[in-house]
């Protein structure tokens, strides 16, 4: 049974040739375009031109009217017919990306086709009046076929919901976009199946655990919940949940996040060089699309493992139209760890989630809310003042409309996000930091001929308050708010059959805080044979970030982050990305991809180096340089999946600090920061044999930098001529130059085997596995004061159970 959601006739057309402005850039010594010059060109120029924020508002309004006018003229003059629509799943209404829409003329010889984008949207234009056979297909779903007649209307909207096929896939070569080695226009699409393959000590995969297998991503270990992407820091990553930003989505136990596989529909991961739609962060983007609930029937699941347990329920609120999905997850490791580990793990985390979705004739809306909680000590043996905790709360809503009058989409997105951080004594934390953000985004998709325009406008309101006591002298405690707005434009210009160009631009305005700034971006893909089997992708762009997240630069595992507006008055963090990649399909199911990148970082806040590591630290600015490459090989055929990824990364910061001259005799020091992991290897094998699925995952990461010390003494401040018989002094560590030591390499092998049992009440999934199969003592951190090393999890067998109701 195939649902034919709607065929909405209306009047509107298309067509006018786009135009392209080209500029010539100089190449620097690395062979990359020297876009850093743009930073100097654009910022001062616009700072002068838009000095008054009112002028910026006028420019945005003008921009909006101009775009509107262009499309209005284009709509009025176009002649050709267009078909558009959204393809989704019948059960949940979730958009299907990569579905094929094929169209063949009956009364003429026109044959055309299109694939749906990540929003499930497709569009075919340039048609003539007549009768057509249409076919919409997606692997694993029943193909939709129909005959339509074009003639009365210029625009026909056909929204289709596809039903899951009950037929077993036999010798299917998975054609869906996604997989570790298959980038789509430089973007990695992460699907549910990708999360499932990674052995995770729970009843299902998790995005946090999957990300650690990517060569671009460096994690601090199995505790802390921090990710570093291509030389960037965790606070430079943008995490979106259905369009709403989330500050701290990863749990304190590194396997888990707010995104278990059950809740995730798909994830777009941009390790760099992302388009103009994303702004406000300078390192990476993790755009998570959450799954809609089942709109046909009630269903649910209960799961439990030594690490966490929880349940999920979903079902229709109005059958076929409105659905909900809710989930509750809570950690159990604190209670269970004494039984299977030597030490009780003082770690607690949990998340609650609810999403309501509505699918209308030509609109789709959803609203979600999420709460997460994390609390724990990274050193299980310590008590007292070593506690970390953080809480996220967010809610957001999104509506997507297909306009009746012209091809394209309108998306309205609004939300609120809150995070609370605390560190120190559980009763009276020594450091606290809260951040809030509310946003309104309007995203529009329009077409001029074959050229696609994605553009939009955004408003951001951010509030911060923090009390850091004396840890950061430049920013001890404060409350501040910042308001910003802006717009973006990204175009997709097909250049013949093989080349696609994606020029884009972001304008952001933060009145009274930063000068208005432009961020030019450019991406391109080239398919030399006109198919996805080979693809060259390249991107270059400028990225800015108005807020900073400061943590303890000495310790990658320290999860405390204080968000604030840069305390350096007007210095917005910025980064220049250059990415060049190639991917190749070699035979059936075998993919290889290679990507190189180069980044220049500017105005990064870093902690001033001090010899008294535990009391005062000032902030100063640093510049950075990052380069590296990823190499991925992936084989996916039938029931077998194998993946090997290798990442090379080189990150260096350059910082000028007053005390460097006093300390080292040189005003500028360069160093590899703590997340500079040079080599990373990941290997994954997953095999399905009958009702069993076995997965084996191995990770290797070379040691991250740390600062060695020469010894200790007690510092006595003689300013008040104290009596040394009464005063002990302040313990002092005599440090070497920053980050000249390297920690030992990290490597770990995880294994899991899963078995599904069909019961009368549902399906029972049993998973048995082992974390750290060969019991490698991987260092988590070393306390130089107490000379204690804290290791990551040892050999750890587990058994998890999940019951899915029919």
């Amino acid at each position: 049974m195939v649902a034919h959601d709607s065929i909405i006739p209306c009047s509107s057309p298309d067509q006018t040739p786009g135009h392209n402005n080209s500029r010539h850039w100089q190449l620097d010594q690395f062979g990359f375009i020297a876009l850093l010059k743009l930073q100097q060109i654009f910022q001062p120029a616009f700072a002068v031109r838009f000095f008054n924020p009112c002028v910026a508002v006028c420019v945005l309004t003008f921009f909006l009217l101009l775009m509107w006018g262009v499309f209005a003229v284009q709509s009025a003059t176009a002649q050709n017919l267009t078909i558009q629509g959204i393809v989704s799943t019948e059960s949940t209404g979730q958009p299907l990306e990569g579905a094929n829409m094929a169209l063949q003329g009956i009364s003429n010889d026109i044959t055309d086709g299109a694939a749906t984008d990540r929003g499930g949207y497709y569009r075919i234009t340039g048609l003539e009046p007549g009768e057509y056979k249409i076919s919409i297909s997606f692997v694993g779903y029943v193909t939709y076929q129909d005959t339509i007649s074009l003639g009365e209307y210029n625009l026909l909207t056909i929204n289709i919901s596809l039903e899951i096929s009950n037929e077993e896939l036999d010798e299917v070569i998975i054609a869906q976009k996604g997989g570790a080695a298959q980038l789509d226009d430089g973007i990695q699409r992460i699907r549910q199946i990708d999360l499932q393959r990674i052995p995770t000590p729970a009843a299902g995969g998790d995005l946090a655990n999957y990300l650690q297998t990517l060569p671009s991503v460096v994690s601090a270990g199995d505790r802390g919940g921090q990710f570093f992407v291509r030389g960037g820091t965790p606070s430079q990553n943008l995490v979106l949940v259905d369009g709403t930003m989330m500050y701290r989505p990863f749990h304190i136990v590194g396997f888990f996040s707010a995104f278990p596989e059950d809740l995730v529909s798909g994830v777009d991961f941009h390790a760099g060089g992302f388009g103009a739609r994303y702004h406000g962060r300078i390192s990476s983007v993790l755009d998570v699309q959450m799954r809609d609930g089942n709109r046909q029937q009630f269903t649910g699941s209960v799961s439990m493992s030594p690490f966490q347990g929880g349940f999920l329920v979903e079902g229709p609120l109005k059958k076929g139209k409105t659905s909900f999905i809710g989930s509750f997850q809570n950690s159990l490791i604190e209670q269970t760890s004494p039984h299977f580990l030597e030490d009780r793990q003082p770690l607690k985390f949990g998340s609650q989630y609810l999403k309501v979705s509505y699918s209308g004739e030509y609109s789709r809306c959803s609203a979600l809310t999420m709460h997460t909680y994390d609390r724990g000590r990274l050193d299980p043996d310590l008590t007292g003042s070593d506690l970390f905790r953080w809480t996220n709360f967010l809610f957001g809503g999104r509506c997507i409309f297909i306009p009746k009058t012209s091809p394209g989409l309108i998306e309205l997105n609004s939300g609120y996000s809150y995070v609370n951080n605390a560190a120190g004594n559980p009763e009276q934390p020594e450091r606290t930091a809260n951040a809030q953000q509310s946003h309104v985004d309007l995203n529009l998709t329009r077409f001029l001929g074959d050229v696609r325009f994605d553009y939009g406008f955004f408003i951001r309101m951010k509030w911060f308050n923090y009390d850091l006591q004396e840890q950061y002298q430049l920013a001890q405690n404060d409350e501040e708010a910042i308001m910003g707005f802006g717009g973006y434009l990204e175009t997709n210009i097909p250049w013949g059959e093989k080349l696609e160009l994606y020029p884009g631009l972001v304008l952001s305005v933060y009145p009274w805080t930063f000068d208005p700034a432009l961020e030019p971006r450019f991406r391109m893909t080239w398919n030399p044979r006109g198919t996805d089997a080979q693809e060259l992708n390249a991107s270059i762009g400028l990225y800015r970030q108005p807020i900073i997240g400061i943590g303890d630069d000495r310790d990658a595992g320290n999860p405390f982050t204080a968000w604030m507006v840069s305390p350096f008055g007007g210095a917005m963090m910025s980064s220049l990305h250059s990415v060049l990649g190639w991917q190749q399909q070699l035979g059936d199911g075998f993919h290889i991809s290679a990507e190189g990148y180069y980044k220049k970082l500017k105005d990064l806040p870093v902690a001033v180096w001090s010899s008294i590591a535990r009391f005062t630290t000032k902030l100063t600015l640093a510049e950075g340089k990052v380069y590296g490459s990823d190499l991925r090989l992936e084989y996916n055929r039938n029931q077998f999946y194998a993946y090997v990824g290798y990442g090379y990364s080189w990150t260096r910061y350059y910082s000028s600090q007053d005390n460097f001259n006093l300390w080292f005799g040189e005003p500028v020091q360069s160093y590899h920061p703590l997340h500079d992991r040079r080599h990373q290897v990941n290997g994954l094998i997953s095999l399905s044999l009958g009702k069993y699925t076995a997965s084996l995952n191995w990770q290797l990461g070379t040691g991250m930098p740390y600062t060695r010390h020469m010894g200790f003494d007690e510092l006595i401040n003689l300013q008040s001529l104290p009596d040394i018989r009464r005063q002990y002094g302040t313990p002092r560590i005599i440090l070497d130059k920053p980050y000249r030591g390297r920690l030992p390499a990290f490597h770990r092998l995880d294994f899991s085997v899963e078995r599904s049992l069909n019961l009368s009440m549902g399906v029972l999934d049993l998973t048995a596995g082992v974390i750290n199969m060969y019991n490698r003592a991987n260092l988590f951190y070393y306390d130089v004061y107490t000379q204690r090393r804290i290791d990551q999890l040892p050999f750890l067998p587990y058994l998890s159970v999940k019951l899915e109701a029919n």
Binding site: S611, I685, W698, M710, D713, E714, L749, Y774, R776, Q787
Partner: protein, 278 residues
């Protein structure tokens, strides 16, 4: 359903992977966070006051741990009057500070002479040593306190001092609820920021009312009064650090405030004088 044809070929690969992993498991995972230290032997802190009978100085080895149970110190500490005879050896004394902290303080009752130069040396049994050479300030007259009856501020004149290390007013804490015969607490308020250089010395402006406000934050009883009773002044040698313009981070850096050769720390030669605040 078609079974995967590579099953039989997978076993050897898994074995290879496991063998590799087990091999890797035995890889070195130790961490040696200590950088070899060939620059600093001892840290030496303290001030030697030419006005007092006994001198105390802290001498501790640079060590690889903060918290260690006390053990004998491998140090011989000597003080030599440069050009004035044989060095004398200081006596060691172990002090405990709280549960885990300890330190060795060395003392001598050698008479010091204002304006003269001395050399303090701490030597290990292997011959490695740290040392510091210092010169005491010359003698100077007692500070002259001038109480200005019609003004809210008073003045202290200090003559004959080139470098002023310390000037503080000692206040007596008067609790009206306690009998006058009871001994009273004393609190000091530094006045170094109020010192201005004049010909052959300094003038210091004291505002007892402002000081009382500062002192009130340091006591729990809000009904007490503060009465200035004494002035304490210390003159230092010419290498006295400019503490007022140094931040905590700078002070903590190993070589910023240090006059110790082959070591860390600071030894301040001073001469203190006190005068009644009247």
């Amino acid at each position: 359903m078609t079974m995967f044809p590579m099953n039989n070929r997978l076993g050897p690969w898994l074995l290879i992977l496991l063998s590799l992993s087990l091999g890797l498991a035995s890889c070195d995972n130790t961490i040696d966070p200590l950088q070899e230290n060939d620059r600093y032997v001892f840290s030496i802190y303290g001030f030697l006051d030419v006005s007092v009978d006994t001198q105390w100085v802290r001498v501790m080895p640079i060590r690889d741990s903060l918290y260690l149970a006390p053990r004998p110190i491998d140090a011989t500490v000597t003080l030599e009057h440069v050009g004035g005879g044989q060095p004398v050896t200081l006596e060691d004394s172990l002090f405990r500070y709280g549960m885990q902290a300890y330190a060795y303080n060395f003392w001598t009752d050698l008479e010091m002479i204002p304006g003269d130069t001395y050399r303090l040396e701490a030597m290990r049994s292997d011959g490695e040593y740290s040392s510091v050479m210092f010169t005491f300030p010359v003698d100077f007259p007692e500070p002259d306190v001038r109480i200005l009856e019609h003004d809210v501020v008073d003045q202290i004149y200090i003559f004959g001092v080139q470098t002023l290390a310390l000037v503080e007013v000692i206040y007596e804490v008067i609790d009206p609820s306690e009998p006058e015969s009871e001994p009273r607490d004393r609190l000091a308020v530094s006045q170094i920021e109020n010192a201005e250089g004049i010909t052959n010395g300094f003038v210091v402006t004291v505002n007892p009312d402002e000081d009382a406000l500062k002192l009130r934050l340091r006591v729990s009883n809000s009904s007490v009064r503060f009465k200035p009773v004494q002035v304490r002044v210390a003159a230092a040698g010419s290498d006295w650090p400019d503490f007022l313009n140094l931040e905590d981070e700078d002070l903590a850096l190993p070589d910023v405030v240090s006059n110790v050769e082959n070591g860390l720390g600071f030894v301040a030669p001073v001469m203190t004088k006190t005068a009644p605040y009247e």
